[in-house]
């Protein structure tokens, strides 16, 4: 695999191969010296056009544990603020010959576009409201650890589906792994046509008990300015996952950061059903596996020879 741009591009075999390797790397994270030389001499560039703490630091840790060199490039304080275009920035950074670029932008399709401009392997760390494939992989990894197989499981994704790249990647990933996905949220935050992805659409939590896994999405405060829901209070009353709604055998997930008291009540965040810190921990090993896949895995396979010149398409 040359790039990781979207879950849509991955088969179940691809996902399982990456996650099996992640499980192997998990052992590294438990060592005293948390480092293997797998990517020694390789350079990984973190190019973040959006604020991120956990994803960026998790990629940075992952690269360092594989002995790669890491350069962080944040949009603020850079030439981007001076008006440089994405393409010019990428071509400039490509001149330093990075082996992989981890990119997050507020625009759908930007990672794929960047992949057409550079010889580096591209890892999509979130492109607008489109996809966030490493989040979905780490979520599947967490569930495989917790439940074994996802086959036949019912997973409810609850919240602001319209503005969530996590929801889109997870619908595709969970379904690829054999689960049935239900999306649930306010009708004003449910994208028209989402059912064409194969999921069930619900507007209330009445049947939440059928879920094996409840995946709550972050309710972004900034959406409140646009009046998609009357108030956060009403949102919480209708959609908050709390101890009345969450069953003892259900697994609770959240991509973070959590708004306690909005999408999740404080007590469920701290409940044994919640696997939120497992997800964070999985983030590093899954991203190690992804970096290994696109940098070393591709070299092993020799399937796609790298172009020698940037494609200025």
């Amino acid at each position: 695999m040359r790039h990781l741009l979207s879950i849509e591009d991955l088969s179940r075999d691809d996902i399982e191969r990456i996650l099996d390797r992640a499980a192997a790397f998990a052992e590294v994270s438990d060592r005293d010296i948390k480092k293997v030389p797998a990517l020694r001499g390789r350079t990984v560039l973190n190019l973040f056009y959006e604020a991120s703490t956990r994803t960026r630091s998790s990629f940075e840790l992952a690269a360092k544990r594989l002995s790669a060199d890491v350069v962080n490039f944040a949009a603020s304080g850079s030439s981007v603020e001076k008006g440089e275009s994405l393409k010019d920035t990428v071509l400039t950074l490509t001149a330093h010959s990075p082996d992989a670029i981890v990119i997050r932008t507020p625009y759908a399709g930007a990672a794929a576009l960047v992949a057409s401009w550079t010889t580096a392997a591209i890892i999509n760390a979130g492109d607008g409201k489109h996809e966030h494939p490493t989040q979905a992989l780490l979520d599947v990894h967490t569930l495989r650890q917790k439940l074994g197989s996802l086959d036949g499981r019912s997973i409810w994704i609850v919240g602001d589906v319209a503005h969530s790249r996590v929801a889109r990647s997870n619908i595709l990933a969970f379904q690829a792994m054999g689960a049935h996905v239900t999306v649930c949220g306010p009708p004003t935050l449910m994208p028209r046509g989402i059912e064409s992805l194969g999921c069930t659409v619900r507007y209330d939590l009445d049947d939440l008990r059928e879920a094996d896994v409840v995946y709550a999405l972050r309710m972004q405060n900034e959406r409140m300015d646009q009046h998609f829901v009357p108030s956060l209070r009403e949102y919480a009353a209708q959609y908050q996952i709390n101890d009345r709604r969450l069953g003892p055998r259900q697994v609770l997930m959240h991509p973070g950061p959590v708004n306690r008291g909005v999408e999740l009540s404080g007590e469920v965040v701290d409940s044994p059903q919640a696997v939120i810190t497992m997800q964070v921990k999985a983030g590093v090993v899954v991203r190690m596996a992804v970096l290994y896949e696109v940098l070393a895995g591709a070299r092993d396979a020799r399937t796609a020879p790298r172009p020698t010149e940037p494609q200025l398409a």
Binding site: K87, Y107, G128, S164, R192, G193
Partner: protein, 489 residues
């Protein structure tokens, strides 16, 4: 205090102007070509003689011989149609000449088989006053390879509040009025424009979109936008405005032309309005007729346009409406953008695709060659757009000014492979293999485009001609094809 006297007489009988640069009247004899003109009923192999820029003779195949100084063109296996007209293009002049100008835009038009265009006013500054319109006519008289007309804004600054000085603009030769690129959001302003039309004439050409519904959308709202996580532009953002403006036009007895219909709901609204006698015409673009939101899956910014490519049901409704006559013409909405403006993520990219160089071949390849639409119908729809606003309807008939296009329907070509005549290369069809190639375009009596292979096959019946002989045919000092008796509605 009395209002100032208008500097020029206005009124509903003012004539729209089409202006082009001086050019040499063509002298051509096309031998044995399949002539097809849905209006004159010609459909067969003929010889067509053009002398001094006029169609001088139409004879039986291989019956005519070329008079001295007339170029001979082999028409065998080729088709001749009336040249196409486009009531909706963006030539980006003034102010955005890095995207296109009158010279490159009309060169692209000629290469696509067009003989006349109407340019939209969303330039920088916008075309909303007499001095700007006057300057453009002067520029066109210098730079335009095919005749160009201009539609100034309905509202000052294209801001949707105050009407422009429509009577004065009309008296200068405005082809109609439009705020294209933007809707006239305020129904009260729209109504006032329709009322004022009784004084100044000129069709109001409308971009139908309710911005409260389209919001920050970047593509059609549907299954593909749901998958891509791109904010959608719902089809009702168009169809509700179509219904509103048809109601207003019906109430005021006004004449409107609806631009680039994209949604099946809009087609239904126009059909209903036409049935109850509203004076409304409308257009569809080659991209809306042949592409859908499935073609946006790759998030290629060249396929981002407004209105967006919609779903299969919408596309099929547009094709059916073309067939049934609900849609009156095909217009390209040729919208050039510089490469660096389009080489950005989809959601950041400006709306629009170029279309003049590909229009015929796209429609022919996707709709005529597979048998969905008849060739005559497509030719009729590609040549009717200016007639709808009271301007030129090109015809192949003796005595008419030569507005002709010679096409090889079997020739295949790949869009963009040899570059573009347009200054911009943001073509939604880039890389597609198309059937049907324009070989020669005669616009307003002059050869405006010649494909390289045609150049080689052209022979002069009298051998090599000298420059003197050529110029003795006489230059037109300033060729103005102003509506020639066609009155505005």
């Amino acid at each position: 205090m009395t209002p100032p006297e208008p500097t020029t007489p206005g009124g509903a009988h003012a004539e729209a102007r089409l202006v082009s640069a001086p050019s040499r009247p063509a002298g051509l004899l096309v031998h044995g070509v399949h002539v097809l003109d849905p209006r004159t009923g010609l459909d067969g192999i003929h010889d067509v003689l053009v002398r001094d820029g006029e169609i001088a003779e139409i004879g039986a195949a291989n019956s005519l011989s070329a008079p001295a100084g007339v170029e001979l063109v082999d028409g065998a296996g080729r088709h001749m149609f009336p040249a196409f007209v486009d009531p909706h293009v963006h030539l980006r002049t003034p102010g955005q000449e890095h995207k296109e100008d009158l010279e490159t835009g009309t060169r692209a038009a000629a290469a696509g088989g067009y003989c006349a265009l109407i340019a939209m006013p969303n330039t920088d500054p916008v075309i909303d006053s007499a001095p700007i319109l006057g300057a453009l006519f002067e520029r066109a008289a210098r730079d335009a390879r095919v005749p160009v007309g201009f539609m100034p804004c309905i509202t000052r600054g294209q801001a949707g509040r105050e009407l422009t000085e429509m009577a004065e603009l009309r008296a200068m030769g405005a082809a109609g009025f439009t705020d294209d690129g933007r809707p006239v959001v305020d129904a009260g302003v729209m109504r006032r424009a329709l009322q004022y039309q009784r004084l100044c004439g000129g069709v109001l050409a409308l971009h139908e979109e309710d911005p409260a519904l389209s919001g920050k959308g970047a593509m059609h709202e549907g299954e593909v936008s749901a998958l891509l996580g791109v904010a959608g532009i719902p089809s009702v953002s168009e169809s509700t405005m179509v219904a509103r403006d048809c109601a207003l036009a019906g109430y005021e007895g006004g004449r409107i032309h609806l631009q680039h219909l994209s949604a099946h709901e809009s087609v239904a609204a126009v059909a209903a309005a036409k049935a109850r006698g509203v004076k409304v015409t409308c257009e569809a673009s080659p991209h809306h007729l042949t592409m859908t939101d499935e073609d946006v899956r790759s998030l290629d910014p060249r396929r981002k346009m407004n209105p967006p490519l919609r779903c299969a049901e919408d596309r099929e409704a547009l094709v059916e409406a073309l067939r049934s006559g609900v849609i009156d013409c095909i217009a390209t909405d040729h919208a050039p953008h510089a490469r660096d403006e389009k080489e950005v993520p989809f959601e950041q990219a400006p709306m629009g695709t170029t279309g003049l160089e590909t229009a015929f071949s796209v429609v022919y390849t996707a709709l005529v060659a597979p048998g969905t639409l008849r060739l005559e119908l497509v030719i009729e729809k590609l040549t009717s757009g200016l007639g709808l606003i009271g301007l030129l309807v090109p015809e192949i008939a003796v005595g008419e000014p030569a507005n002709l296009v010679l096409v090889d329907l079997d020739a295949e070509w790949v869009v963009g492979q040899n570059g573009y005549e347009s200054r911009s290369d943001n073509c939604a069809f880039a890389g597609r293999r198309l059937k049907g190639k324009v070989l020669l375009t005669v616009a307003a009596g002059a050869v405006a485009y010649r494909e390289r292979s045609i150049m080689l096959s052209v022979t002069s019946s009298e051998g090599h001609r000298s420059r003197q002989e050529t110029s003795s045919e006489g230059h037109r000092s300033r060729q103005e094809t102003s509506s020639e008796g066609h009155r505005s509605r």
